[in-house]
Every structure is written in C-alpha cells, then in structure tokens.
Symmetry: C2
Subunit: 144 residues, 2 copies
C-alpha cells in the first residue's frame, strides 16, 4: 500500500543546513520561524490564532534511509528507533509543538521551530494538553 | 512535489465502522486496542516500553476529501480546518497520544485508541510533555 501526500506549505527558518539545528525543541527557545501555507489552503487557518501552541507535522525531505537501532545524540546506549525522536524513520514525519505568535495572511509566525529551512509542511493542528497535567507520565530510558 | 509513505503497521480496535467512534480521545477512556507493527520493523520497538504514553501517527485511509471550513462536532460556528482536529484534511494524518500497556513481540497493547480498525500506521514516537506543565496554554475557540 502506497500513501501519497502533497505539502500544504513550507517552513522558513534560519537553519539553512542540518548541522547546527538543535537536537531537542526546548533548546531552540527563542528561534523564530515562519510556516508559509500555500495560498489555496489559507482559508483553513481561520481561528487558529486562538491557540497559543500548534502541532506541526512536516516531511523531513533530506532523509533517505532509516535505522531501527540507533544511539541517540548525547546517549551511549543503543535504543529502538521508535523509542526515540530520530528523524531517520521509515516515514520521516517530523512532529513539533511550536508557539504561535501571529498569523499574517498565509504566514504563521512561530517560535521554538527547530527545523531545516525549506522543509515541506504536511499538516497543522491545534495543540491541546492531551493529558491532565496532574497525571504522572513515564518517559522511558531518558530518566533511567 | 509528491511524498510517498508506506505503512509500518496496522491498528486493531473494536471500531469496525466510522459511526460510533468517539470524537475526542478523552471519551474513549478504557477502550483497548492493538498497534500491530509489521515484523520487519519490530526491532525498532525496543525500549518503547519505558514510556507510559506514545504518539501514534496514522493514515485515515477512508478520507477522500477535505474541507477548509467546517463546523466541528458539538459546535455551531464555522471554523478553519487547521484550528480543528477534523480528519478531513488535505493530508489525512491522525495524531493520537495513547497509553501504552504492554508490548508483546510486534504488538503494542494500548488504551485510549479512538481509531477505525484496520487503519494504517505511519509512525510511533515516544511521548514527552512538550511543555512545562506550569505554563499557561490557550486552546482557542473551545474556551470562548
């Protein structure tokens, strides 16, 4: 089964090459970027400015291979790919939660965007807390 | 530009038709399902059991059209598509945070899975809190 998508827009950031991109979103605090939605999809941005944070799904277009076992950056042990956020995935979809600052026509101005300039955008969704913030969550090997 | 993906697995749930699927994840509490990862990707599941919650990206294979302006379920006003979680999107990628109960070989046993049985899986990622839980977030038209 083949699944075919087309970009709905493109990411504009100061990161012109993969080298130097923060490995974790929290480290890119303060870096601003623009999500340029193609004009034919602009109508769908209405009301999005009511959200302080949005989910950005994009296609890591520079990724050509995946590895099922990897050593994550700043780690020493080999981990299963799906227990990491490595971009080298069978379907290289990037997931980011970014802070929405403003929407100007078809441009979404955001912060905390740690993505290569020119990356195709697949989808934009409003961000809700998926969980009650009092609920305990376990975040795997990172806290071991 | 065309982007081509292949499923890494399939979702198994009690929901055999779209009718009757809870509209919001929180309403599917207690419903269990299985994410069956194809055997050739099983190696990538190592260490995932250290996480209490995982992000599931799937392809809504029954969606054939999108609408840029919609009235969300249980609402009366028209909203921009990207300010909603409607599945009728240009690229119908489903985003869910589900609770991981167990991993048995290539099968991930989860709760809170509000997805049609047989839905193709695109990706699985570990869930972290993307934000400091003390941070205020604004969730748009929903609280208006």
């Amino acid at each position: 089964m083949k699944i075919e998508y087309k970009p709905i827009g493109i990411v504009r950031t100061p990161f012109k090459e993969l080298k130097g991109i923060p490995k974790q979103p929290s480290k890119s605090n303060g870096v601003n970027g623009i999500i340029e939605v193609y004009p034919q999809f602009q109508e769908g941005l209405k009301d999005l400015d009511g959200f302080s944070n949005i989910i950005l799904l994009c296609h890591f277009h520079k990724i050509t291979e995946f590895k099922l076992s990897i050593v994550p950056s700043e780690e020493t042990e080999v981990r299963g790919l799906f227990a990491t956020r490595s971009p080298r995935r069978p379907n290289p979809i990037g997931f980011s939660v970014v802070q929405l600052n403003d929407i100007q026509e078809n441009k979404i101005l955001v912060s905390e965007l740690d993505i290569l300039d020119g990356t195709p955008v697949l989808d934009i969704k409003p961000y809700f807390r998926e969980f009650d913030s009092n609920k305990e969550i376990k975040t795997g090997w990172i806290s071991k």
